[in-house]
């Protein structure tokens, strides 16, 4: 076209026009950015926590998902609380269990007030637990309460008596029971379920502040907290899905704590001296299970062991998980009630795996289906990458692996439907109680194993521990199960994982609670 207009004068004109355009562009960029360049400096005493997922349900009597504990930890206390060393007496100062194990008298802490200033009493304990027992309760953990708890009696203002249907030793070792957040009866009855969700009141170290639906939740310090007022003024949880953005926010000081550190991000953070990685210990455990109805060869222990020898858990723990996970010896972690030290790990030995498969008559090229879960949850970070390596490991010993990719929701639908793949992964988040771990995967009626584990002895031990109100005796039963499982290897242990958080230099000290999985115990956090 230049030729058509054919003039060199145009070229000069063009340059000047170009300059003008560029000028306008730069000017507008400057105008847009220039007015308020720079980030709000983090205000004194306030912290921002950038999270991969947010939960904005605040009514513990209607707990649908355990993830709501990421809020309860701020607003409420349970009879027990979770600290860096595990569960400790909180609203209950002490308790007495009757000889038959069927009543528990809780001595409640005095001089504790709810956020509205009203005193905490046994009436509130009764109200909270009995609300969960109600048939129309929205609490999806209700079944476990109904099985053991009959009702609660108010002995006096500061003594609550649990009247049980059967002994309930798991109450003290299982977060979902012992940590049940106590709500104020008078307030709940006044405002109703809807009002409570909007403005919940507890005895915890923080009061719920501003809630921006689906975006952020702010908690502000409750000065009269019985265990000492928080050392910060407020904490804001912000939903930031993108990994790199969370990293950048931490770098810029827009966030003080970030969660969801995946492989490459974790490496980057570890090499940056401005950050520190702090882990909540033993947040998850995982193993590999077999669907014996579609993969009958797995009835043979040699086949299951071959899978164990095939998987390079050490490499996975170091290279993919960056050391935040370690190879497991059993589905019980060192923080699980029932754990026993010194159980053997299955070493990585692909040659032995091949030999075992040959012995068991499983030919090279045998086809198996295997689930790759495309999203991770607390039990194991980097789940898709780990499972992809496991699939590769299985291929290396001769299996032909057909991968089925599912996201969490599809995975749960598959598992609940009782139709897992031939070989599948068995994660447990917050495996704090051995009885609960057994209940998930090892009892014959478990809905999660496609009924593949049928060990009458396991069922027997499970029922026994359920009623063993003497903790020592119960520990022994669970340890017996753990030892027995090493002999049977129904489930090939994979990894024990921690939940890593990165913090910046503003934070002087902070220790999340054991097995917490979310940034917890924020009231003890100190700033520089």
């Amino acid at each position: 076209m230049l030729q058509d207009f054919g003039c060199s004068e145009m070229k000069t004109r063009f340059r000047s026009v170009l300059k003008q355009f560029l000028g306008i562009g730069l000017l507008s960029a400057a105008l847009m950015g220039g007015s308020s360049v720079g980030v709000r400096a983090a205000p004194e005493g306030q912290i921002v926590i950038a999270l991969t997922s947010l939960d904005q349900k605040f009514d513990p009597t209607a707990m649908a998902s355990y993830s709501s504990h990421m809020n309860y930890d701020y607003i409420f206390d349970g009879l027990l609380n979770l600290g860096e060393k595990g569960k400790y007496p909180a609203l209950a100062e002490s308790w007495v269990i009757s000889d038959d194990g069927l009543t528990i008298d809780f001595k409640l802490r005095e001089n504790v007030t709810f956020h509205d200033g009203s005193p905490f009493t046994a009436e509130d304990v009764k109200f909270t637990f009995e609300k969960i027992l109600e048939p129309d309760s929205g609490n999806s953990y209700r079944a476990g309460f109904v099985k053991s708890l009959d009702h609660v009696e108010v002995v006096d203002a500061h003594t609550a008596r649990f009247v049980l249907k059967q002994p309930w030793p798991g109450f003290f070792t299982t977060a979902r029971y012992g940590l049940t957040p106590i709500v104020s009866k008078a307030y709940y009855e006044k405002v109703g379920a809807k009002g409570f969700q909007e403005k919940p009141i507890g005895t915890g170290p923080f009061v719920l502040g501003e809630v921006v639906a689906g975006k952020s939740t702010t908690f502000t310090a409750y000065e009269n907290y019985w265990d000492g007022a928080p050392k910060i003024q407020s904490a804001t949880q912000v939903l930031v899905k993108e990994d790199f953005t969370r990293y950048a926010m931490l770098q810029r000081g827009e966030a003080d704590i970030i969660s969801g550190l995946t492989g490459p991000l974790l490496d980057k953070i570890k090499t940056n001296s401005d950050f520190k990685v702090i882990s909540a210990q033993y947040v998850g455990t995982s193993g590999i299970l077999f669907n014996k109805s579609t993969f009958p060869a797995a009835e043979d222990k040699r086949v299951r062991m071959a899978v164990g020898y095939a998987i390079n858990t050490k490499d996975i723990a170091e290279k993919i998980q960056g050391g935040i996970c370690e190879p497991a010896t059993s589905m019980f972690t060192p923080a699980t009630f029932g754990y026993i030290d010194g159980l053997p790990r299955i070493p990585y030995d692909p040659e032995k795996a091949k030999a075992l498969l040959k012995e068991a008559g499983v030919k090279p090229g045998t086809k198996i289906t295997f689930t790759i879960q495309t999203s991770s949850f607390a039990a194991m970070p980097n789940t898709p990458q780990v499972l992809e390596v496991v699939a590769g490991n299985l291929e290396a010993v001769g299996f032909q692996v057909e991968r089925r990719s599912v996201d969490t929701s599809a995975w749960l639908a598959m598992m609940r439907g009782g139709k897992p793949t031939d070989v599948f992964y068995s994660p447990i988040s917050n495996p704090d109680d051995g009885g609960e771990v057994m209940n998930s995967y090892f009892v014959s009626w478990s809905g999660w194993t496609a009924k593949s584990i049928q060990q009458p002895k396991y069922d027997e031990l499970f029922n026994e521990q359920l009623k063993a109100s003497d903790p020592e005796k119960r520990l022994k039963i669970l340890q017996d199960f753990a030892k027995l499982e090493v002999e049977n290897r129904e489930d090939i242990p994979l990894l024990w994982c921690n939940a890593p958080f990165a913090i910046n230099k503003r934070i002087k000290s902070w220790t999340p609670s054991l097995g917490g999985g979310y940034p917890t115990d924020i009231y003890k956090l100190e700033l520089n």
């Binding site: 207009f5 904005q56 810029r252 827009e254 969490t408």
Partner: protein
């Protein structure tokens, strides 16, 4: 433009929305449900059913669909399962953020694409044209999630001019706007260039030129006005790109718009919110299309929707 045309269009739009509602309703339910996702592993079947019932998920699918569509017609998309708030209310709250980002992105895109496109056509095969082509190629082939991360890296970390993410200040708008705008600009730039090339070769341009009209008047008034239809079409099409790109861009920059809300809702199988978000976007897109059809008539009197 007749009333008949408008009515016809309206009917088409309603039909499209109805189809869309069936698709989103069906797809959402094909891969799991929100209660299974929230409930613990050992929750009993009865507990799960009871909680499902509390969200109305126990009813037969046709009944659920009827509830959805009957209420949606009145602007009620139900209660978000995850956030426990009315879905329509949450979407309306987030609409301004998405509108703002879409508007600045399309303006940025046009400001970049039109001048470069026109100049590339006028000086085609020059070095400027080559640079323009490279910019267009890069803009089109760089995924927004990658460009977004690069921008954060360069302009929020290495040279800390803008905040990494968030909402509220003018400066928060810059990086997402550039991310989304550059992607949009690429297509508009290419179409502008080729439409202008065609127009500049037309007879009336030679006539105008031989009449001695100023060159830039010929380019900007005579040629540009006649290339406006394809440019307008591609710009309108880019509105869909923007709505789609917003899902990714908003997620990267934690921009509190509809896209960010939608992606979270999909992962959580928050049916009411997913349905609401998709229907919202559908309505917006249909409206944009409708307005563009109207503008065609204004731009080119030869186009008429009246049957003669």
């Amino acid at each position: 433009m007749s009333a008949r045309f408008v009515l016809g269009r309206l009917f088409q739009a309603l039909l499209t929305l109805l189809l869309l509602s069936v698709v989103v309703f069906g797809l959402a339910r094909m891969s799991g449900d929100p209660v299974s996702l929230m409930a613990p592993m050992d929750a009993s079947h009865e507990d799960i059913e009871r909680i499902k019932a509390s969200f109305g998920l126990d009813k037969p699918l046709p009944v659920q669909y009827w509830h959805f569509i009957a209420n949606a017609a009145q602007g009620d998309f139900g209660q978000s399962i995850k956030w426990d708030r009315p879905a329509a209310e949450m979407l309306l709250e987030r609409l301004p953020a998405t509108f703002l980002l879409s508007f600045t992105s399309i303006v940025f895109g046009l400001l970049l694409a039109l001048p470069v496109g026109i100049l590339s056509a006028v000086y085609h095969d020059s070095w400027f044209d080559s640079v323009g082509k490279i910019v267009a190629l890069a803009g089109q082939s760089m995924p927004t999630f990658w460009l977004g991360i690069l921008l954060i890296l360069f302009f929020a970390l290495n040279t800390p001019i803008f905040p990494t993410s968030g909402y509220g200040l003018d400066s928060h708008l810059v990086l997402p706007t550039v991310t989304l705008g550059l992607f949009v600009a690429a297509s508009i730039m290419r179409v502008t260039r080729s439409a202008m090339l065609d127009a500049l070769e037309a007879d009336y341009i030679r006539t105008a030129s031989s009449k001695g009209l100023p060159k830039w008047r010929i380019i900007l008034v005579h040629a540009f006005k006649n290339s406006a239809i394809p440019i307008l079409t591609i710009t309108a099409l880019q509105m869909a790109t923007i709505l789609r790109g917003a899902v990714v861009t908003e997620t990267i920059f934690s921009w509190p718009g509809i896209g960010q809300l939608a992606i979270d809702a999909v992962y959580g199988r928050d049916f009411p919110l997913v349905q609401g978000a998709v229907m919202f976007m559908g309505v917006i897109f249909l409206l944009v299309n409708f307005v563009v059809d109207m503008i065609y008539v204004l731009l080119d009197p030869r186009i008429s929707y009246v049957k003669r």
